[in-house]
């Protein structure tokens, strides 16, 4: 691919009190791609997402979103320039993130959650922000729930409001932190539908998930992370069918074994 990637992560490193959470992470995500980030717990997936929105400050490495550097910039001459808080805040709307717990603002209605973000951060007029908010929420199937407060919404509905809130900012890319884990297992299919519809409009997405099946169904590419490094990355089908990295192979085997167990117990005659 010759176009500039929507997200380019180079040599990203993050340490927490001696523990290296991210160890020289390299990742490129191109426009319209859905990349699933999988790996065992503690591998650094969530840390990576948090660094991508600068909720954590990486110790080393660079992030570029739609060609623009985030937080740290490599100047000609090898000097690393740190961005001011204002510069970082200016770029943040372009990186949409949907948290595992959604973190909707409970004192506002669903619509207001989407509107307030636009008026305060992007300076849109209330009328314009409301128009876009209504449109987004309607498209996500929440036309009749817009005036409800988050505590009156189901988990799946809350997630869609969180998605709408991030989408309203016109992001270049959407990040998802474990989109299925806060919801009942039966709803995984619904999440898949919502995310596929986003992909359908050409949104670039990076999805952190521990559900391999979900990742395999949704993603174009899968990246496997372990101990803060991306060990293998490639087209979803190839990764699932023929993983090269031994640790990835054992990881996938572990998951496939679990599936075999469920299948066995479902057939008591065996």
């Amino acid at each position: 691919m010759s176009a500039t990637p929507v997200l380019r992560v180079s040599a990203l490193t993050k340490r927490f009190r001696g523990v290296t959470a991210l160890d020289q992470v390299y990742l490129d995500v191109y426009a319209g791609q859905i990349v699933a980030l999988i790996g065992p717990s503690g591998c650094g997936k969530s840390t990576l997402l948090r660094c991508l929105t600068w909720l954590e400050q990486p110790d080393d490495g660079f992030i570029e979103v739609a060609g623009k550097p985030l937080g740290r910039e490599l100047m000609p001459g090898g000097v690393v320039r740190r961005h001011s808080r204002r510069q970082i805040d200016a770029l943040r709307p372009r990186i949409g993130i949907v948290f595992q717990q959604f973190h909707l603002w409970p004192h506002m209605t669903a619509l207001e959650n989407v509107v307030r973000a636009q008026t305060v951060v992007l300076g849109r007029s209330r009328a314009e922000a409301t128009r876009r908010g209504v449109e987004l929420l309607t498209r996500l199937g929440l036309a009749d729930r817009m005036d409800r407060h988050p505590d009156a919404l189901s988990g799946g509905q809350k997630q869609r409001v969180a998605i709408a809130r991030a989408l309203a900012m016109d992001p270049a890319l959407m990040l998802f932190d474990e989109p299925t884990s806060a919801l009942d297992p039966e709803l995984v299919g619904e999440v898949l539908t919502v995310l596929r519809s986003l992909a359908g409009i050409g949104m670039t997405m990076l999805v952190v998930t521990h559900e391999i099946g979900f990742a395999a169904s949704l993603a174009d590419r899968i990246a496997f992370m372990d101990h803060g490094r991306i060990l293998e990355e490639g087209p979803a089908r190839d990764i699932m069918a023929a993983p090269k990295e031994p640790r990835l192979r054992s990881f996938l085997d572990l998951v496939r074994t679990d599936h075999r167990i469920t299948r066995t117990t479902a057939n008591p005659t065996e």
């Binding site: 929105t53 805040d89 943040r92 717990q101 603002w105 004192h107 973000a117 305060v120 951060v121």
Partner: protein
């Protein structure tokens, strides 16, 4: 022993003047004290050990020393810096200083009780810290702030009686004046105690109305921290 309210007839205006000054001083000290308290709370939340240490010293010092001594320290200390103010202003400033330590802890506890994700989601979307505080944090902590703040404000109002020691003509000072003139301590202090009690009732009622407008901490917010709630009601309980 006889109870003769007529003794006070000539002195009611004096007592009411005193009561009015008590109210004014309390209101002014509340506003100033809360502003300073919010500032201290926000400083205490800055990452690093230095801000916490400095604000911790501030709060612990003001909470462990009797207010009457804080008052005297301010009263005798100001002339050192060359500032000469009338007693009533000195007293109000000392009262505000005293209250600010408690308000700071109340605000800090309320902010910490809010899940981190609220602030983070606001920042992740691009809001400045100030905007995040204004649109997301403050509206949510408002309801948790009301009960402990009321408690502290009542305490502060009662503490204003101590201002009589530097001749501020508030209610307690006037009670001593009237008692000195009438030698009817029972009537005087019965009247004065009733006035204080009335002011306390008014403040408590105003707080109840405010709670209804802002919503009690029980309504609305889901996923509240129960442990934080108990801490909040104990923290500001008393001076």
């Amino acid at each position: 022993m006889h109870f003769d309210p007529a003794v006070l007839v000539d002195y009611w205006p004096l007592l009411l003047q005193g009561a009015w000054l008590t109210l004014q001083v309390s209101a002014a000290a509340f506003v100033m004290g809360y502003v300073v308290g919010i500032a201290i709370a926000l400083i205490a939340l800055v990452p690093g050990w230095v801000p916490r240490l400095v604000t911790g010293l501030y709060v612990e010092t003001l909470r462990n020393i009797p207010f009457i001594i804080i008052l005297f320290v301010v009263y005798y200390g100001l002339p050192f810096s060359g500032i000469r103010l009338p007693a009533v202003l000195v007293g109000t400033a000392a009262l505000a200083l005293f209250a600010s330590a408690y308000y700071a802890e109340i605000v800090r506890a309320a902010i910490l009780a809010l899940p981190r994700g609220q602030f983070e989601s606001a920042r992740a979307i691009g809001m400045s810290p100030m905007s995040a505080m204004r649109h997301v944090v403050a509206p949510q902590i408002l309801r948790t702030l009301v009960p402990p703040s009321t408690n502290m404000t009542l305490t502060m109002m009662k503490e204003s009686a101590v201002l009589s020691s530097i001749t501020v003509p508030e209610l307690t000072y006037q009670s001593l004046v009237v008692q000195g003139n009438t030698f009817a301590p029972f009537e005087v202090f019965a009247a004065v105690a009733s006035i204080y009690w009335l002011i306390a009732v008014v403040i408590a009622e105003a707080s109840r109305r405010l709670e209804r407008r802002v919503g009690t901490a029980q309504a609305g917010a889901s996923g509240r921290n129960r442990i934080a709630d108990r801490y909040l009601s104990l923290v500001a309980r008393r001076t």
